[in-house]
Structure formats: structure tokens, C-alpha cells
Amino acid sequence: MKQLSIMVDMDRCIGCKTCVVACRNHHGLVDHRNDMPGEIPYYIKVESKSEGTFPDLTEDFWVSPCKHCKTAPCATACESGAIRKDKQTGIVLIDKDLCVGAQKCIEKCPYGVIQFNKAKNYAHKCNMCFDRVIHGQEPVCVEACITDALSFGEKEILKMRAEAKGKEIVKKMSSQSIIYVKSATQ
């Protein structure tokens, strides 16, 4: 199958959240004039995990957007046919014109990445910058990443790139379209 993916190099992600804001700007998710902290929608978030006790510590950072699941529970749950997995790209898309605001997709999403616009009654989420990628551009989070921790392309090619750089796939975190990698030596 065709699957466009994002690869997250955890050796390089510093948790700076630049991608979160770049994504919001590009997709027009912010009402710059009025929005208050805690109420601004987002399509990507930063997570981290630290382990150990002082002074033997480690900490990893990574980003977590929609995984564009192989069999997307959100699409299965949607009764109005507003959610589909695009055959050409593998991107899971919500058609907000077909969305009736039932929010079943939000209940079923195992990653909690679907947002809901109460005022306009539709669900929305990361579309891997469909508008950009069909024109040969990278998703905006990949372009904006200040450490080049994110890369974009066909899943199988990203996996080859990771191997060439001596990176291992973190299988327990990786999913259909988001691949997490770390240096094999770490």
C-alpha cells in the first residue's frame, strides 16, 4: 500500500514545540487576537519521558501527531462517511463538510489527536499537510523542525534512511505513519 510517513529522530528532538506553533499557523488554528492559553486547538503535541535518579538520568522527547492508522478507528466509527484513508497517500482525512459533529471519531481515537470545533460543529485533525504534500512539499512540522529531527517520505524509504544512519526503529512507539527512531548505540 502507499503510505506517506513522518520519521521522528529521538536523538534530535529537543521538545521545543516549534512544530506545534508552525502547524497552528499554517492550518489557521489560532485566533491570534482572542485565544487564551489552554483553549487553542493543536494537531501535534510534544511528549517526553525521563528516567533514572540523580545524577544518572536520561530523557527522551518526541512529537505525536495523528498516526494515520492502517485501519483507522475514527473512520470506522464515523457514520456520516466524513473520514477516509486516502489511497494515494495513506493519509487519513476528515471532510468537514460531511462531518455532522457526532464526535464518535474522538471517542474512538486511541491517540486523542482529534479536535472539535464547537462553534462550527466539525471534527478536525492533522492531515499531514495534504495541501502541501500533493504539491511535493513536506508537511509544515517537518519543514519547521529546528533540529531536523523530523523527516518525511514513503514509509519504506524512511526506514532505509534510518538504517543507513545507524538508527533503530522504536517499535513499541511506532505506528502506521509515524516512525520513531533512535541511535542503535544509545
Partner: protein, 712 residues
């Protein structure tokens, strides 16, 4: 004048001022990103700049105070009235022959900033954060090898070779204070085999990516690196060829005598890093093709000049000057002067820290600018009468900030404010504004012209970038540069004969073969990226009086400071029992320190895209002794103030230290006040003017940290 498209300009969410592209659609900035012709990156603060631009809290018209200072009550006035207020106050002071009692706190974007020009014409002084952040590094490097590498002239990480050492000492470059590309460059260098070593009492993102994290006692950097230098010299592991050729005759013999007893074991007792680790680093340095030190927070303690001196010694004896992976040495390339040039007042004669009762003590101090932190003292002594503040927030950023706030409300026997007039120009509401007599709405970087050029470097080498208006200004906002140029035209027409800011920049740029139009035609910037290496070999000398590297600081012989003292900062040596913890105030990549813009920027205070609180970080070992649990509300008490906030237990902080983010404390603006909880670190720190016994009087550095006690 305005057009749609991706327009090259410059970010100003922090002082790094990265070259960017702004996407303008239908006259609105909708997206921004790093300019690929420059270094191609833009950080989270920069990305959130659009929110500052369009926030409904933007200051949109001039206002004058109607209540008492501190009440924050204002009424709208016209620009004409605002200009008249400033002109009449300024003329009155100037006519009394007291121009030196006017100070302007700001950050000059170029050394020829028109506001600075006005101050020189008037006979007043500018102050910047530079003396807080940089002075010890600048002065020690100037003394040792005669160049001016301020903290924006960090090591060039893209030049670090395989095996080179990148040493961060209390420095957090992933916060993008130099350029948004720095984090990428460091990680690229690491991928090609350079080593990242982080020396820091707190395990932060840089430490998480490091090959080696060395937790150190805050303020222990001078002793730590003296131990390293001792090992290198005692074991003949230093760069003898370099030192023989370039170090002043006699200095190597003298340093050997001085450093003989600064053994790793003795230094370990001060900095609390095991001697074996000091020796391990010395051996790594001896074998590495290059080593550089990037320090920022560590150079702000009371022993800053000692640490700056040791830092210089380390670079010299390892030969890491102006080499790939070492400390770059920028040369000076001034722009064309705008004739006639106003001559500024004599800082040593008239600067306000020189005019008080401690004048003689300050004669040891040798810095190029008025430090900000004696302003309250100067107000009390009648040496500061008019104060302007642009894009800065002294009500929060001054150490002992409550003393600053008290000082600006002091009245004389006649009931008049001791500080006669106070103007603030800002983009968004700031804490400082509450005390202002006049508030002027400034323009963001998306609405104004600004020339980015320093006679040393701008972002890694000689270059310039032009910030240009890409959209119409909001409300009646005017760029303060133009306001001050207009004042200059009225008061000192001979020095302000040029048409406007753009013509002023054009005259300056002609001196280096450029113009505004050429910069615009070239994609908004000019920078070859050529830093140059070993430039001292071309000239055959360094920029010191002797032309050689001067390790012994003979200019400080009168105060016995020819060589650095390994001791801990003086502020940490008092009241150790009463205040057992060292306060470490850290920088966050989401905040531009006390800058009002980031604290009132909804995206930067949002939990998903920024930081929404400022808890007190405590190691669980310390918390257990104090019977404190995660999330408890505790008091943090210093010798001068007490504040309270919630506790965050974390293994990431060295026992004996407590950490909070620097810069919080804003009580003005909906965004800043909604998020929390927080502590303003500067309220806890002793005011410089009233605690001179704790102040460094030889290096021009302030103390930005202090001892505290924690209790429920």
C-alpha cells in the same frame, strides 16, 4: 509599500533576531519560517510572533498616567501631546546642564541605533542587559586577547570537527538565544563525532543530548576549569607551541607559579565535581582537535570576572582561539558614520554609578556601558531624573526588582517624584508600564524598519539583515526609533539632518558597500557566512596593548586581581545555614526572559505550545528532609524577600539547589495573569545598590542568584 507573498524580514521575539520569511496574504501575516538564505530556522518564540502582532492587548495609542505611579491608570492622548511631554521634560533637564541624569534602557539593534545617537547628542546614557549577561566575558576576553566576543559570538558549532569538544557551562543554546539554527548545528556536530559536554546543576535538554553531563555547584566553574588548567599545565598537556609564540613573555612562567596549587583535588572541594572527572575532562581536552566553551548563566555570578579570566586562560593554553571548533575572534568593521557625530558623555566622569558615595570602589570597574542595576540608587541620590525604557521590563528584570519599583515612586519633600519623568514604549502591556508617566505604542518587527548590524558580527560573521514593514501598523503604533528621530530633529537638528530611519540606515550601510535596496534585492540580508580562522596570524598580533595574549591581568594589580580566585561567588558564602539552598534561575526557550511579549503571548503560555507555570524544582532527597511533597505550596525566602509557589520534585536538579524559570512576575495583561503559578526570581535577589557588600566591584558583573530557604 506592502505586498503579498513570502517576504524576507527579521524576527524580533528575542535578541537573536533571526532572518525569516513572513507569509503575507491579503495584507495579513499568516505564517512565518526561517529564511533559507540565512540559517534557515525559526524557533517556537518566533513562530508565535504572529500572536504578539495581532493580540487584542496590543498597545495602540499613546497614554499618559492619571493616577499615582504603580496604579496603572492611564488616559488616551494624542501623539502631539506625547511628543510635547517628552520634549518639555528633556529640554528642562538639558537646560539645567544635567543631561547625564537622563538614561535610556534599551537594546541597540545596531551600534549606530538612532536612539543611542539621540542619547549621545543629549548627553545621557544608555543601559542594556549587556552588563548583566556579558560584561565579565567581554572584559576578560578583551584583557586577555583583545577582542569583543559577547555572548552572541558563541562557538561556531557548524565548524566543530570530528572529535572536537563542545562544552556548555551553564549555557542552554537549545533555547535559541544566538540563532534558531544552533540546536541543529550542535546535533549535526555530534553526529559527525564531536562530543557534547554539559556542565550544569540542572539536567536540561542539552544535558539530555550530551555525551557527558557534569552536575556542578553553581558558581563553581572558575574552580572546575582551574583544576582542568592545572592538570594540563602540570602534565605538559597544554599547547606549548601556541603559548610560546603568542603569549606575552613572562606570563607562562607566572601562570605556572599561580596555578601550581590549584590541583584537581583542591578545586573539587570547591565545585563539588569529583577530581577524577576534572582530570578526565583535562585528558579529553588534551587529545581533542578542538574545544570550546559556551557559557551564559555561569558568567552571571559574583565571581564572574574570575570565571571569565579562567575561561580565557583555558582557551589560550589549549590554543583554541579563532580555530574551527574553538572561540571565534571577530574583527571590527564599522559602518559609515552619519556626520556630524555627536560625542557621548564621559561614562567614567558622569555615569550615575560613578557619582554616588561608592564612587571610588567603582573605579575598579571597567565597562563600556552604564549598568542598569544601580538605577534605584541613582534615583535616591538624585542622579537619575528622566528614564526611558523601550522593549525592556526593568520592573521585573532588575535584581531586587521590588527596590526598583519602590524607587520610581519615591517623592521629595515637596511631594514630587524623585524620578521626574518616566516613558515606556512597548508592544504589549508590560509590568514596567504601570509606573510610567507616558506609554507609547511601539511597532512589532512586522510593522517597522530596523537595521541589524553590529560592527563585530551579526549571526556568525560579518553581515547585515533588514527588518522591514510587511503589514500596516496596528492602531497608532509608531516605531520608537522614528519617535526619537523626530525628537532629535526638534532638539538637535544638526545631528538629525537625514530624512528618516531608512535614509539613516542607507548612509551607514554605504560604509560597507551596501544599501537598504541592495539588502532587499538580496533577499533581505547580506552575509557570506565566512567567519575566517586564525586571523591573528594575518596581522601577526592580538588586539591587546602588548600585541600578545596577556594572561596576567596587570590592570587589576591595585586590587590584587592579577589572577583569578577559585573561590565560590561571594553571595553564596553568606548565611549558608539560614538559607541552605542555592537558587538557580533558569532560562526557558518559550520565554524571552522578562519580555512582556512572551508573557502575554497566548501560544507561549499555552501548555501545549509553551510553558504555563513556574514551579520550584527541588530534588526529592532535599524534599524528604523538609517533608515536602510534589505539588505542595511552599515559601521561598531569601535575605531580602519571600515568595510562594508550588513544588515540583525532580531528579533533574542537584541536591542543595532549587530551580525556577527566570522572567516570570508579570501582573499586567490577561494572558500573563491567567497562567500560573509563578515566582519572580528577581524579587528574591538582593538589590545591587543597597547591597554593595555583595556586589562584585572589579568585573562589572551583577549577582543574579542568591541563597534561599524553603518551608511549608
Amino acid at each position: 509599500m506592502y505586498e503579498d507573498g513570502w517576504i524576507p524580514t527579521v524576527c524580533y521575539q528575542c535578541k537573536a533576531e533571526c532572518s525569516i520569511l513572513a507569509h503575507v496574504k491579503d495584507g495579513v501575516v499568516c505564517e512565518v519560517k526561517g529564511n533559507p538564505r540565512a540559517r534557515g530556522k525559526m524557533c517556537v518564540k518566533g513562530m508565535a510572533g504572529i500572536t504578539s502582532l495581532y493580540s487584542k492587548e496590543r498597545l495602540t495609542h499613546p497614554m499618559k498616567r492619571v493616577g499615582e505611579r504603580g496604579e496603572g491608570k492611564f488616559e488616551k492622548i494624542s501623539w502631539d501631546e506625547a511628543m510635547e511631554m517628552m520634549e518639555s521634560k528633556l529640554r528642562a533637564l538639558h537646560e539645567k546642564g544635567e543631561g547625564h541624569k537622563f538614561t535610556y534602557s534599551m537594546f541597540p539593534h545596531s551600534a549606530t541605533d538612532p536612539k543611542w545617537r539621540f542619547m549621545n547628542a543629549y548627553g545621557g546614557f544608555i543601559t542594556t542587559g549587556l552588563p548583566h549577561c556579558d560584561s565579565a566575558k567581554i572584559m576578560s576576553h578583551l584583557h586577555a586577547f583583545g577582542c569583543f566576543p559577547n555572548h552572541h559570538i558563541a562557538p561556531i558549532y557548524y565548524s566543530v570537527p570530528k572529535g572536537g569538544l563542545m562544552i556548555m557551562a551553564g549555557r542552554h543554546p537549545f533555547g535559541c538565544m544566538d540563532d534558531a539554527s544552533v540546536a541543529r548545528d550542535i546535533l549535526d556536530a555530534k553526529e559527525r563525532g564531536a562530543k557534547l559536554i554539559v556542565i550544569d546543576p540542572i539536567f536540561r535538554t542539552e544535558a539530555a543530548k550530551a555525551d557527558w553531563w557534569i552536575p556542578i555547584k553553581p558558581g563553581g566553574d572558575a574552580s572546575f576549569f582551574l583544576g582542568v588548567c592545572n592538570y594540563l599545565i602540570e602534565n605538559d598537556l597544554y599547547n606549548k607551541d601556541f603559548c610560546e609564540k603568542w603569549v606575552r613573555e613572562g606570563d607562562m612562567d607566572n601562570i605556572k607559579s599561580y596555578i601550581a596549587d590549584k590541583t584537581p583535588e583542591k578545586m573539587s572541594a570547591i565545585c563539588e565535581v569529583p577530581a577524577a572527572d576534572i582530570i578526565k575532562l583535562a585528558k579529553m581536552v588534551a587529545e581533542a582537535p578542538s574545544a570550546c566553551i559556551d557559557a551564559f548563566k555561569s558568567i552571571m555570578y559574583g565571581n564572574a570576572m574570575d570565571w571569565g579570566h579562567v575561561w580565557s586562560i583555558f582557551l589560550v593554553i589549549t590554543g583554541n582561539l579563532d580555530n574551527p571548533g574553538g572561540q571565534p575572534l571577530p574583527e571590527l568593521t564599522p559602518m559609515a558614520p552619519v556626520e556630524p557625530i555627536p560625542t557621548g558623555p564621559d561614562l567614567k566622569e558622569l555615569g550615575y554609578h560613578r557619582t554616588g558615595p561608592n564612587r571610588e570602589k567603582f573605579d575598579n570597574y571597567n565597562f563600556i556601558m552604564q549598568p542598569t542595576w544601580y538605577a534605584p540608587q541613582a534615583i535616591k541620590e538624585g542622579n537619575l531624573k528622566i528614564f526611558f525604557a523601550t522593549e525592556c521590563n526593568p520592573a521585573l528584570s532588575e535584581m531586587g526588582s521590588s527596590v526598583w519599583r519602590d524607587a520610581v515612586t519615591l517623592k521629595d519633600d515637596d511631594g514630587n517624584y524623585m524620578l521626574d519623568f518616566f516613558m515606556v514604549s512597548e508592544i504589549l502591556p508590560s509590568e514596567t508600564m504601570k509606573w510610567a508617566d507616558l506609554v507609547l505604542p511601539d511597532q512589532t518587527n512586522y510593522e517597522r524598519w530596523e537595521l541589524l548590524y553590529m560592527p563585530w558580527w551579526y549571526n556568525y560573521s560579518h553581515g547585515a539583515a533588514i527588518c522591514r514593514p510587511v503589514v500596516k501598523p496596528v492602531g497608532e503604533a509608531r516605531h520608537t526609533n522614528n519617535v526619537i528621530i523626530d525628537l532629535g530633529k526638534k532638539m538637535f537638528p544638526e545631528y538629525f539632518a537625514f530624512k528618516d530611519d531608512v535614509e539613516y540606515y542607507d548612509i551607514e550601510l554605504a560604509g560597507v558597500g551596501m544599501s537598504i535596496q541592495k539588502l532587499l534585492d538580496n533577499g533581505g540580508m547580506w552575509n557570506t557566512g565566512a567567519a575566517g580562522f586564525y586571523k591573528y596570524k594575518d596581522s601577526g598580533k592580538f588586539g591587546t596593548p602588548s600585541g600578545k595574549i596577556e594572561l596576567e591581568f596587570q590592570m587589576y594589580a591595585n586590587i590584587g586581581k592579577e589572577w583569578p580566585d577559585p573561590a565560590m561567588p561571594v553571595e553564596f558564602k553568606v548565611d549558608e545555614e539560614k538559607f541552605p539552598f542555592i537558587l538557580v534561575n533558569i532560562r526557558s526557550m518559550f520565554m524571552n526572559n522578562t519580555g512582556a511579549w512572551s508573557h502575554n503571548n497566548a501560544q507561549l503560555r499555552d501548555p501545549v505550545s509553551g510553558v504555563d507555570s513556574n514551579p520550584i524544582m527541588i530534588n526529592p532527597l532535599d524534599a524528604k528532609k523538609l517533608n515536602i511533597n510534589d505539588g505542595d505550596t511552599v515559601s521561598m525566602e531569601s535575605s531580602t524577600a519571600t515568595a510562594s509557589s508550588i513544588v515540583q520534585l525532580t531528579e533533574k536538579i542537584k541536591p542543595g539547589c532549587v530551580g525556577i524559570i527566570h522572567g516570570f512576575g508579570q501582573t499586567v495583561g490577561k494572558v500573563a495573569t491567567q497562567s500560573g503559578p509563578w515566582i519572580n526570581d528577581n524579587d528574591l535577589i538582593a538589590d545591587a545598590g543597597s547591597h554593595l557588600d555583595q556586589q562584585d566591584l572589579c568585573g562589572g558583573e551583577a549577582h543574579v542568584s542568591t541563597r534561599v530557604n524553603i518551608y511549608k
